[in-house]
Symmetry: C2
Subunit: 227 residues, 2 copies
């Protein structure tokens, strides 16, 4: 596990991200690190090859899930918990608003994706639908699109409360944007029609013009297959 | 929608919880409110009868999910976001530790249940497995127990990092305990053998001796059927 000596704004910190190019949760952490200009050393953990189930990785993250973020000797897991930690320890630029109601709104939007949508369509769930449940790829794709549509429709309805602006929460990038973007990549990959969700889709398009977001996308990761 | 005039420590606040006795997410919010001694007026939203899909409720929570918490005229959704809001606006007794690493640990434990376990076994998922996917009750129960076991095994492994004490994070009740308890109720209802998870089970048993936890359990809610 190679580690580069990276420099954080607060001093010298070595940050290593155990990463998989297509993992939505890892993508969220890449976005947060890039947005806060925190350099990191990525280590690929192939979910398809089962690297997350190997003892070496389990010693790092006993849940066997990607990502894990190692800052100096501290191992952090769970993407939203990692983002909150990064925001508390590297407050600028902020990923949560200054007011309690605003923080609630950003967390609720984030959880509408990270709790209500993403887990149901995770790779391990799709694998279980295939075996032991014996479903066809068509049935699995229908499942995927169904829960994408339910989740994105709910997210779109939450966005329509008047609090959205250039991004999910006013005109500042927040954790909600970081949760939205990987989910849109997934939706598009499974041919969900994003035009049904014009607020979310417009925000996504504006976010992807930001260099920090562009650089975090799956196809730009070192473990992504050549196009 | 009846509302009682309740008194919060910070002044007069009217708190209404749109609640379902068996909803894990609503159970979490009941636990947080009870633990902080915040009185509230429960309004039953029957998930089995589909009350969460009626326009009256959608106007409150456009995601159509339980719970929604109304404090004065503010509508809050998403159980973990609600708990963070309550903790920020009613800090004592705290449900998150004072240090950033401690907060990360509590949030990660909470998310290991609220993101990685609970959503996969939600009622709407079990309904979809039944129709359109056509699975038998036995196959659905096997799905339920499988994801309970995967999730609780991961949670138990996270707990074993040395940070647990009387409760999930040292000897103070935290949001992680609030996420654990409803999940154990679900696991027991589906005959998952909790003795496989001795740390989590021991913490659960200690928590249930607290009056705030006892009063929040499903069977004690006004909308629970008579035993």
């Amino acid at each position: 596990m190679s580690q580069l000596a990276n420099q954080s704004p607060e001093g010298i910190a070595v940050i290593t991200l155990y990463n998989y190019f297509r993992s939505s949760a890892a993508f969220r952490v890449r976005l947060a690190l890039n947005y806060k200009a925190l350099a990191y050393d990525p280590v690929a953990v192939s979910l398809v090859a089962g690297a997350h189930k190997e003892p070496q990785y389990a010693a790092l993250n006993p849940q066997g899930l990607v990502p894990a973020l190692v800052i100096d000797d501290k191992v952090l897991t769970q993407s939203m918990a990692i983002i909150e930690y990064l925001d508390e320890t590297h407050p600028q630029p902020a990923l949560l608003p200054a007011d309690a109601l605003g923080r609630h709104r950003v967390r609720a939007l984030s959880q509408a994706i990270a709790c209500d949508l993403h887990p149901i369509n995770n790779l391990r769930i799709l694998k279980y639908l295939k075996q032991p449940l014996g479903h066809s790829q068509e049935e699995i794709d229908t499942w995927y699109r169904h829960w994408c549509d339910v989740g994105l429709a709910g997210f779109e309805a939450l966005l329509a409360d008047g609090g959205a602006g250039t991004y999910c929460h006013g005109d500042q990038v927040s954790m909600a944007d970081i949760c939205l973007v990987p989910q849109v990549f997934n939706a598009v990959r499974f041919q969900v029609e994003m035009s049904k969700y014009p607020l979310a889709h417009g925000i996504f398009e504006r976010l992807m013009k930001l260099p920090a977001f562009d650089a975090a996308q799956p196809s730009r990761q070192p473990d992504a297959p050549a196009a």
